[in-house]
């Protein structure tokens, strides 16, 4: 800042600290709840200092689930399903988008612009607005209750294609020309030159798409009826909505915590790629 105004600087820090606290508050309460036993949960108010049942709760939640009366399988399994879903969606999106972006930027062929617009238009069709017909297609293809059903329909992505297209357009033309003179054909150029150059874009996209895949809610909700394909995010909501869940808030909230830990870790650890991915996919 151009001048010193200690009061303003103090005010800025105060606001930000307040913000950080507000942002952290629900997670803190959740974390505390997950360290107590069920009996403690029944007395109002809920505790604000940690208890000593965290490991016990963790084992119960991860391995046995919330008990026979609950409508959800062990959290460990749901975490695994979410991981499969998030990783498959992220890698799948990146793979098909980088290929189609490569075709659209680097090849001259009759239907190029048609394909471009077809991909572009999918930006305008979020899964929520066409949920029933999409569900029907997946049902007709026999993909209900399968990893394929969970992931494949969400893999096509105009955003990822755009990001790669944007990036390819910034790659100097001379690089392609030099490669052609060096004798590289289209696939060789793609593998040897373009792919290594796209590393940072790929990493940025991976972060964004991993979060997107992990946080899917509506799609797994309609596509899975078999518990063994439940994902953690939809599973949590299911647990909360079960009538007698109130008694098990310590375990439900631990599960909620486990549902947010992986994507939060990805964002915090890969913060630079995350910011880059976020800002660039929206350009």
């Amino acid at each position: 800042m151009v001048e010193r105004r200690p009061i303003l600087t103090f005010f800025a820090h105060a606001t930000l600290i307040l913000g950080v606290v507000m942002v952290a508050l629900p997670v803190y309460v959740t974390l505390i709840a997950s360290t107590h036993d069920q009996a403690r949960m029944l007395q109002a108010p809920v505790p604000l200092l940690p208890g000593d049942h965290f490991l016990e709760n963790l084992v119960t939640v991860l391995i046995t689930g919330l008990g026979a009366s609950q409508a959800a399988p062990p959290v460990g399994m749901m975490l695994l399903n979410s991981l499969v879903m998030a990783v498959t969606i992220a890698t799948g999106k990146i793979a098909i988008s980088i290929l189609s972006a490569y075709a659209i930027v680097y090849f001259r062929f009759p239907l190029r612009m048609t394909f471009f617009w077809m991909i572009f238009i999918t930006l305008m069709l979020p899964v929520e607005v066409r949920i029933l017909p999409t569900f029907k297609v997946v049902a007709d293809l026999g993909m209900l209750n399968s990893y394929a059903g969970l992931t494949v329909p969400l893999i096509a992505s105009a955003t990822a294609t755009f990001l790669f297209r944007q990036f390819f357009l910034t790659v100097p033309d001379e690089l392609l020309e030099a490669a052609r003179i060096d004798g590289a054909g289209p696939m060789r150029f793609f593998v040897d030159i373009l792919l290594p150059l796209s590393r940072t874009s790929i990493a940025a996209l991976f972060v964004i798409q991993f979060i997107y895949g992990w946080n899917q809610y509506l799609w797994p909700l309609v596509i899975t009826t078999d518990e063994s394909f439940y994902t953690i995010v939809m599973g949590i909501a299911r647990m909360v909505n079960v009538v007698d869940a109130a008694a098990r808030w310590n375990q439900v909230m631990l599960a909620a915590l486990l549902a947010m830990v992986p994507p939060v870790i990805v964002v915090v650890v890969m913060q630079r790629q995350f910011v880059k991915g976020l800002v660039e996919t929206e350009k």
């Binding site: 913000g19 108010p45 988008s97 929520e128 607005v129 893999i155 995010v233 949590i236 909505n241 913060q271």
Partner: protein, 293 residues
């Protein structure tokens, strides 16, 4: 659009776009087409035959007080979330832009809720405000305020707005911060030399320069509140109490999967598509203008 030197290859480009195109057609175009098609048909009770009814489904939808209620709820919800998350995001961004020390730490501690699924965000806040065990509802009760979002529609609305705002502020914060940092320092310095204090500089220099970012974020946030917040509503209030938090996209879902009203839900889908299309067009028109500025 295309490289100066492009490959000419008879079949390779088609092979390269094929996977994306196949998925796009199977899971985007075909269902969207189905929705359009269904929206002008009415099926009989057994699903054996259907007949073409022009816009009857749409008339039915727009004549349905529940639909109009959902539209109203969506409007209230969208404007509350948009206004709150944009202003809070901007406030944090301006403050973070001002501090030098620990800026990066603040950024880290402010952006992580973006990674939390909206449904989980709803669960976290729902726990705090849970009528029986929630700490905040306990405090409210102690101070004489009767809190039960399961019974009070306004309280339920407040809760899903709160969870969505919490979930969305990081995104707006990041974009505002990026916008602030792209304003040339010399501009601020020139204004300071001209005698403008920090407040005046913000309103006369910084804010006008940020307005494109704000506009962009507004459109993006509206799209977010229309669609991605389905899970908050579903996980926290289930559209209730009554229909106090039934937003449009939630109604499409419940009409599709619970009421099994094919034509009606298809018509609702088409209306929603029209909304996204117009919002996206607005967004792109604006981006184009910015690019050719």
């Amino acid at each position: 659009m295309i490289k100066r030197v492009a490959f000419d290859h008879a079949w390779l480009p088609y092979v390269l776009v094929a996977p994306q195109l196949a998925i796009t057609i199977a899971f985007f175009f075909w269902p969207a087409g189905q929705a359009l098609f269904q929206s002008v048909l009415i099926e009989d009770a057994f699903g054996l035959s259907s007949k073409f009814v022009w816009f009857e489904n749409f008339e039915r939808v727009f004549g349905d007080p529940n639909y109009l209620n959902a539209a109203g709820v969506t409007a209230v919800f969208a404007s509350c979330v948009t206004v709150a998350s944009l202003s809070i995001g901007l406030l944090f961004a301006v403050m973070a832009d001002r501090v030098v020390r620990a800026r990066h730490a603040y950024q880290t501690f402010l952006i992580w809720p973006y990674a939390v699924a909206p449904a989980v965000a709803g669960v976290l806040w729902g726990f705090l405000f849970n009528p029986t065990v929630g700490i905040i509802s306990w405090i409210l009760k102690q101070s004489g305020y009767n809190w039960n979002y399961l019974l009070d529609g306004d309280q339920a609305m407040f809760l899903i707005v709160l969870a969505s705002v919490w979930n969305r502020v990081p995104y707006n914060f990041l974009f505002f911060l990026a916008g602030l940092q792209s304003i040339p320092k010399s501009l601020i310095e020139a204004a300071a030399i001209d005698g403008a204090g920090p407040g005046r500089r913000f309103w006369t220099i910084v804010f006008p320069l940020l307005s494109p970012t704000a506009f962009f974020l507004m459109v993006v946030t509206i799209i977010y509140t229309f669609f991605e917040t389905f899970s908050v509503v579903h996980a926290v209030t289930g559209g209730g109490p009554g229909k106090a938090t039934e937003i449009l996209v939630f109604k499409v879902y419940s009409d599709s999967f619970r009421a099994l009203d094919l034509g009606g839900s298809a018509a609702q889908s088409v209306v929603l598509m029209a909304i996204v299309v117009s919002l996206t067009v607005v967004q792109f028109r604006y981006i184009e203008r910015r690019v050719h500025y």
